[in-house]
């Protein structure tokens, strides 16, 4: 089985029925993607598949054959520097315990790619599938809005 992970071609031998989440974490060493509930409720395991936010605990790895998968490890810039969004999360205090942060960053990344005129309400809607128990979301919303182009 082959797919692209953060721009790199990867191959995985084994059952295509395994959860993408487990293959990422256990076979490909991409532990930035977290398991919060295992049933698609919390968004901690969010990844991007061909640019769409998906809960990787609900996806069998066979379903991503030939597709582009992006995880938090792929967010930094080519030179290894933090992206504007990652930097904003630090500056605004959008990451506290950090366990929801990888999924939250990916969901926010897609929002920022999709729309130039984001409002706080758009951000709330776009991040509603990613639970955070630390921040009350205020600082996350501030961080995302600060990255509007």
């Amino acid at each position: 089985m082959r797919f692209t992970l953060n721009g790199q071609a990867v191959a995985f031998e084994g059952s295509g029925a395994r959860r993408l989440l487990d293959v990422l974490r256990e076979e490909l060493g991409a532990t930035g993607t977290k398991e919060g509930c295992g049933e698609g409720e919390c968004g901690a395991c969010s990844v991007l598949i061909d640019g769409e936010v998906v809960d990787s605990c609900l996806v069998a790895v066979g379903q991503v054959e030939g597709l582009d998968v992006m995880t938090v490890e792929g967010l930094a810039l080519q030179d290894g520097k933090l992206s504007h969004l990652q930097q904003a999360f630090i500056e605004h205090g959008a990451a506290q315990c950090g366990i929801c942060t990888p999924g939250m960053l990916l969901a926010a990344h897609v929002l920022l790619e999709q729309s130039r005129r984001l409002t706080a309400d758009h951000v709330r809607e776009g991040l509603a599938g990613n639970l955070c128990r630390c921040t009350g979301y205020t600082k996350i919303i501030d961080a995302v809005l600060s990255c509007r182009k």
Partner: protein, 707 residues
């Protein structure tokens, strides 16, 4: 000469581990790779709420050589989860009592998950069930009681023009840290066991390991991994996870990874104590507060855990932030056959302050007064005494926060929809920072600071980073006290083989109590460096100031070193057709003493406030046969970004002389105020008073219908 570094305290410097957290490099427990691989562990739990184990049968058709099975017989030390009372077994014993659903009975480990699942399906446990007790009204066993008396309530009541009585109820709540409980145990040379886990209190786990596995101080090693939230849920429960993992690793002779899935975490781990609180308040016609007579009953669940300490904090906060000359508080915590309740942000105070704040509303309504005016009349001010007779001598922010919240609250806008009514409510709360009474004195939390020859400094503390900012704040405090840049200060890992016992990371004590020790150690090392050369090491332990007096037999005296204060204004929309309550705006003004890191301080207030919004509105646990019916994240709902109100925080700085740079503990405070403010806002919108939370649509509709 180098230019003086910019002061770090008071600035929102980048979080120490921020880069690791936004790049996915931060290693949480389940992210840690074990060289050579670790086996997977699993806990087999009781399916009944009360009874005895008649038999445990391992199906002979299964090849048990492929798995490790641990029973109570495999516990080398005491079969006790070390905490306050020795009532909770590590594993239930055959013939011994089962006291709640999900009680651990057996442990399994195997090389892969499918073998583990297969093994679990080949275990049969038979029980002799007994009649369980589920309701606190039916409970007969009492874990603890607290009685607080100030003045003479009976005599005061004779002068009253008005007597108001009311009963309130609060429900269970799950901490719902997004990273579930987990630990990895490594058997090491000389019979040592090393634990890497998701936890708040390394030395609690250390003590539990020593006791159950019969280990020496050196043989038990506990290391905190990056931890994905705690909120009290990782105060005492990780001791159970770690001891279980250790027993499996010891028997397997290899590392074992015991990571709960969300379902197990929700079904089996501790929750906020539910309870019933009754008030009888008397006043004169002009609103003068004469007496408060308060009864609190908390449901501790099946085992004691930290319940007596939770009850103590509930009782001490029960009169609210008000100066009443005559107070009687009778509190008790009872046992039921439900999973044990335990630590959760606020630790009893949210429960009792919910009732206290709504009583102000009810008395004001009966008097025909504004509840804000009544609060101004009653509130504790400098020089007043609390229910325990504590005279407040400094940093009393009651009026400051009330004024700041009122000034910053936006005008209430009409809802614009005919079926939706909008309302506003307010609350005023205080929260004791640090341990109750003599807790800090007994504990003597310790930190160390080392000056290294390369010009850097190393802070050694067992206080953990669980998202609240410990790592950053301690480095800020040390840097400023030393007069060096933040880049010269590092923090040693939270590893019991390296760091002294600074006490648990709980009770809004980390920044204020342990942070002060960091500051003191840094000040001393700076002074010694004028005469001595590095390496130098300074240790500082908490010393109770002579001015603090507490009598734990009479519950009289200085219950806390100082209090933090908050006023919350909540705006709600109530849909009169569905009963749905939506909190649209929250404004909270907080007297934090000094904001060491304003962004993180706001982060504590915002996050805690939303947890309180959840508790007050949507977080409901339904019980069935002594277990939680909605024990999945699909059915136990917490607020999403769409549900969350716009939250505005106003930090009021009102320094406390013994806090580091004037700071007071504020981590738990935001859990106290929103719930009563929301219930008052629902009343403002609908005209009905709810006495019970969460304010679910069913309760709102029923209250409106019966009006």
């Amino acid at each position: 000469m180098c230019p003086a570094p910019v002061a770090a305290v008071g600035r929102s410097v980048p979080r120490r581990e921020g880069v690791d957290k936004v790049t996915g490099r931060a290693r949480y427990t389940d992210d840690i790779a074990v060289p050579g691989g670790a086996w997977y562990g699993r806990t087999i739990r009781s399916t009944i709420a009360r009874g005895a184990i008649r038999s445990i049968t391992l199906d002979p058709a299964f090849d048990w050589a492929r798995v490790v099975v641990v029973t109570a017989d495999d516990i080398p030390g005491d079969n006790v989860v070390q905490l306050i009372r020795d009532d909770q077994p590590v594993l239930a014993t055959k013939g011994g009592e089962i006291r709640h659903k999900e009680e651990p009975i057996l442990l399994l480990a195997a090389a892969d998950r499918s073998t583990l699942e297969e093994a679990a399906s080949h275990i049969r446990i038979q029980y002799d069930p007994a009649e369980p007790v589920y309701e606190l009204e039916q409970a007969t066993e009492v874990f603890s009681t607290v009685d607080i008396t100030k003045g003479d309530v009976a005599t005061a009541e004779r002068e009253a023009d008005l007597v108001v009585e009311r009963e309130f109820r609060v429900g269970l709540q799950e901490q719902l840290y997004i990273e579930p409980q987990g630990a990895i145990a490594f058997p090491e040379a000389n019979g040592s066991i090393k634990i890497i886990g998701s936890l708040q209190c390394p030395y609690y786990v250390h003590r539990a390991l020593k006791r159950a596995l019969k280990l020496t101080d050196q043989q038990a090693v506990v290391i905190q991994a990056e931890t994905g939230g705690g909120f009290g849920g990782k105060e005492e429960y990780p001791s159970i996870v770690a001891v279980h993992a250790a027993l499996l690793a010891r028997k397997a002779g290899r590392p074992v990874r015991l990571i709960y899935d969300r379902h197990e975490d929700l079904a089996a781990t501790t929750k906020r104590h539910p309870g019933v609180i009754r008030h009888r308040t008397t006043v004169r016609k002009d609103g003068t507060l004469l007496s408060q007579d308060i009864e609190i009953v908390l449901d501790g669940g099946a085992y004691c855990t930290l319940t007596p300490v939770v009850l103590s904090r509930a009782a001490i906060h029960a009169a609210g932030p008000y100066a009443c000359p005559n107070v009687r508080i009778r509190a008790r915590a009872v046992a039921t056959n439900t999973p044990p309740n335990g630590a959760f942000r606020g630790f009893g105070a949210p429960q009792s302050l919910f009732a206290a704040e709504l009583m102000v509303e009810h008395v004001a309504e009966r008097l025909g007064m504004s509840s804000v005016d009544l609060r101004r009349k009653w509130m504790l001010r400098l020089g007043d005494t609390t229910a325990t007779g504590q005279r407040l001598t400094e940093s009393v922010g009651s009026e400051l926060v009330l004024d700041a919240a009122l000034k910053n609250a936006p005008a209430v806008r009409p809802s614009g929809r005919p079926t939706v009514r909008r309302g506003r409510g307010l609350s005023l709360v205080f929260h004791g920072s640090g341990f109750t009474g003599s807790g800090e004195k007994k504990l003597q939390g310790t930190v160390a600071l080392e000056a290294v020859p390369d010009g850097t400094f190393r802070i050694l503390t067992a206080s953990t980073e669980i998202g609240q900012g410990t790592k950053t704040i301690f480095c800020q405090l040390a840097a400023d006290a030393l007069g060096v840049g933040m880049d010269k200060v590092v923090l040693a890992p939270q590893d019991t083989s390296l760091v002294p016992d600074s006490g648990p990371t709980v009770a809004s004590r980390t920044a204020m109590i342990v942070g002060r020790l960091v500051q003191e150690a840094a000040t001393e090392i700076k002074e010694r460096l004028q005469r001595q050369k590095p390496p130098l090491r300074v240790e500082k332990s908490y010393i109770q100031p002579d001015s603090i007096h507490w009598d734990e037999t009479t519950y009289r005296g200085d219950a806390y070193p100082v209090y933090a204060w908050a006023c919350t204004i909540a705006d709600v929309d109530v849909d009169m057709t569905t009963g749905e309550v939506r909190v649209t705006d929250l404004v909270t003004a907080v007297d934090c003493g000094k904001a060491l890191h304003p962004v993180m301080a706001e982060g504590q207030i915002e996050g805690g406030s939303l947890q309180a919004v959840g508790w007050a509105t949507i977080e409901e646990i339904k019980m069935k046969d002594g277990g939680y019916q909605n024990d999945r994240l699909a059915t136990y709902l917490i607020p999403t970004a769409l549900d969350a109100p716009r939250i505005r925080t106003i930090l009021v700085e009102n320094p406390y002389s013994r806090g580091p740079f004037g700071a007071k503990g504020i981590g738990e405070l935001p859990m106290d105020g929103p719930a009563p403010a929301i219930i008052a806002a629902i009343h403002d919108a609908t005209g009905v008073w709810l006495d019970e939370i969460p304010a679910t649509p069913e309760k709102v509709l029923a209250a409106c219908a019966s009006r």
